[in-house]
């Protein structure tokens, strides 16, 4: 049963007064409105996924995944685009994962001693999480491409995305670390174990589900991103040969096919379906990990 509610409808032994009848009518109306809203949201979700499946699936084939695009992507596949996407993702995670995990460790383990730094870091991450991705794109272009001279490249794109996913990564990791019982920390301290060792051997393993959730959400955000990549990683749809090559991400490919290539729609459907499946898979994974983890924690306490 929904929370905090004692089921009383239909069995009220009281005589029905007009006031009560009014309340019942109101209850029914509100219930109907809430139901309609939920149905609308669910309906739109099914519409989007259904439409992409219906039109996209016939376009999908093994060849689509392993061939290079031909004629601006009107035919052929998306192989180089997948490679670029993975390369951008690798750069992004390679930088953001160590940085984010460390920052999360500071936020959760040293909150008592480094009060001021923790407050500054937390505030700025909150703001950073709200910065629009197009502004990250502007920043990435000005800083990585121009100021650092990396040009339109996978490196520029990946680094820009790293800045963007840090808040997500740090929040999930910190939550994971905070859910580790403080018993473990006290036990380790009482045994005279250094913090370094406590973190490596006890806290990080115990917080692993949180780390994985953060990682998966971060991957999701990075793979979904388009606006921050337009002027950082560029448009080139060839297989990149180095990190300084420009590379087109899958999301950018969808944008390009649907807006700039007349007749690109069928392949855009197929690409969108690939991206959607990838992301829904990732999100489902993150949700089920955190669900199972939550229920396990409840059993324990």
């Amino acid at each position: 049963m929904a929370r905090g509610m004692v089921q009383t409808s239909g069995v009220s032994p009281m005589t029905r007064q007009p006031r009560q009848r009014h309340a019942r009518w109101l209850d029914g109306t509100v219930r109907a409105v809430v139901g309609l809203c939920v149905a609308a949201v669910v309906g739109v979700f099914c519409w989007i996924v259904g439409d992409l499946l219906l039109v996209g699936v016939p376009e999908l084939s093994w060849g689509f995944l392993v061939e290079a695009p031909i004629d601006s992507g009107r035919s052929g596949g998306i192989a180089p685009i997948l490679v670029s996407t993975l390369a951008i993702l690798a750069v992004c995670l390679g930088v953001s994962l160590p940085l984010g995990t460390s920052a999360a460790l500071l936020l959760s383990e040293l909150a008592a001693t480094d009060v001021r730094l923790v407050r500054v870091v937390r505030r700025s991450l909150d703001v950073l999480a709200g910065v629009p991705s197009i502004v990250f794109g502007l920043f990435g272009n000005a800083f990585f491409c121009v100021a650092l001279g990396l040009g339109f490249s996978i490196l520029s794109g990946g680094l820009t995305l790293a800045c963007m996913v840090l808040p997500i990564l740090i929040r999930a990791t910190e939550e994971g670390l905070r859910s580790v019982p403080s018993d473990y920390r006290h036990a380790a301290a009482a045994l005279g174990i250094t913090r370094t060792r406590t973190i490596w051997k006890v806290l990080l393993p115990a917080a692993l589900p949180g780390l994985v959730v953060g990682l998966v959400l971060g991957i999701g955000r990075a793979v979904a991103e388009t606006a921050a990549l337009i002027f950082t990683s560029g448009y080139v749809a060839r297989i990149p040969t180095s990190l300084l090559d420009s590379g087109r991400s899958l999301s950018l490919h969808i944008y390009d096919l649907s807006m700039n290539v007349a007749g690109g729609e069928p392949k855009a459907y197929a690409s969108a379906l690939v991206l959607l499946m990838l992301l829904l898979g990732l999100i489902s994974m993150a949700l089920s990990i955190s669900d199972r983890w939550l229920s396990r924690r409840m059993v324990h306490t």
Partner: protein, 293 residues
């Protein structure tokens, strides 16, 4: 303080890493401002509101730099999206908390979670191939403020729903049981007890949704038509601040490029303002908790 000599290296590294993370915000704001500075100096802030229209050029004198049409498009689109998504998101949260049996609520949460995972370019693509043709049937040309509002609304429903539900879930069980014990109806409990108690959380949900709508780029770029004009009706094509950057950044030079960074500054200021507003709620509630408890 931290006296364990063996942990000094770790401590040093953690502080360094965290400082780098905090510095990114400064770096982002700093670079965007730095690049915008040229235009603010050459063109001056007044012309961004007073020029006849937006016809940028690489030099300040030859171009026109009025951002008001874009700003108004962003505001209208955001307002419309929030008006739609606010009730939808809060209704979804109420449904999960007060109406649905546990497994249905869980399913609904899943759907909301998946909805939040759909990338904006896919929303944009769907809007382009499904929504825009539908609107064209009613009122050509199709790409319009309305399309933008609808797409944005769908996109921010998950943000609103997730935050709204967590704030409703934080309403103490005792309040609800107490209200039940008084024989108050479900509607009464929701509107007189739960929603007032979760008020600041619900407001935060809507505001963060608005922040997301302001910053959204790809979807809006794909369905709004991108005509620079203050919209006269919801069926008129518009160009938002974000779309403006995405469209012109590829070829912008000199003052034009700098003017696009000014657009970025405007976005940054709006979003940071919203975050600051929600942060002030957060401190308010913690103060309330500490004085009561």
């Amino acid at each position: 303080m931290f006296q364990w000599s063996k942990d000094h290296l770790l401590l040093l590294w953690l502080r360094l890493a965290a400082s780098v993370c905090a510095a990114i915000l400064l770096l982002v704001a700093g670079f965007v401002l730095l690049e915008a500075f040229e235009a603010l100096r050459d063109i001056g802030p007044v012309r961004f509101a007073a020029d006849a229209s937006w016809h940028p050029a690489s030099e300040a004198d030859q171009g026109l730099y009025n951002l008001v049409p874009m700003l108004s498009a962003t505001l209208f689109a955001t307002l419309g999206a929030v008006l739609l998504a606010g009730p939808l998101g809060i209704a979804s949260a109420l449904f999960c908390q007060f109406y649905a049996p546990a497994w249905v609520a869980q399913l609904q949460r899943r759907i909301i979670g998946l909805l939040s995972g759909i990338p904006s370019v896919v929303y944009g693509f769907w809007g382009l191939v499904v929504l825009v043709p539908l609107i064209r049937l009613q009122a050509p040309p199709g790409p319009s403020l309305l399309a933008g509002i609808l797409i944005l609304a769908i996109m921010i429903v998950p943000t609103v729903a997730l935050i709204a539900e967590s704030s409703l879930a934080a309403v103490p069980e005792a309040y609800l049981l107490g209200a039940n014990a008084l024989g108050i109806s479900r509607v009464g409990i929701i509107f007189r007890v739960a929603i007032p108690a979760a008020r600041s959380g619900l407001l935060t949900a809507v505001i963060l949704g608005a922040g997301r709508a302001i910053g959204e780029t790809m979807a809006i770029l794909m369905v709004c038509g991108n005509v620079v004009a203050v919209p006269e009706s919801v069926f008129a094509p518009v160009r938002t601040l974000t779309a403006n950057i995405a469209l012109e950044m590829a070829y912008a030079m000199g003052d034009h490029r700098s003017a696009l960074f000014v657009t970025g500054v405007v976005l940054l200021v709006m979003v940071v303002g919203l975050v600051a507003v929600t942060a002030s709620f957060a401190t308010e509630t913690t103060h309330a908790e500490s004085t009561h408890g």
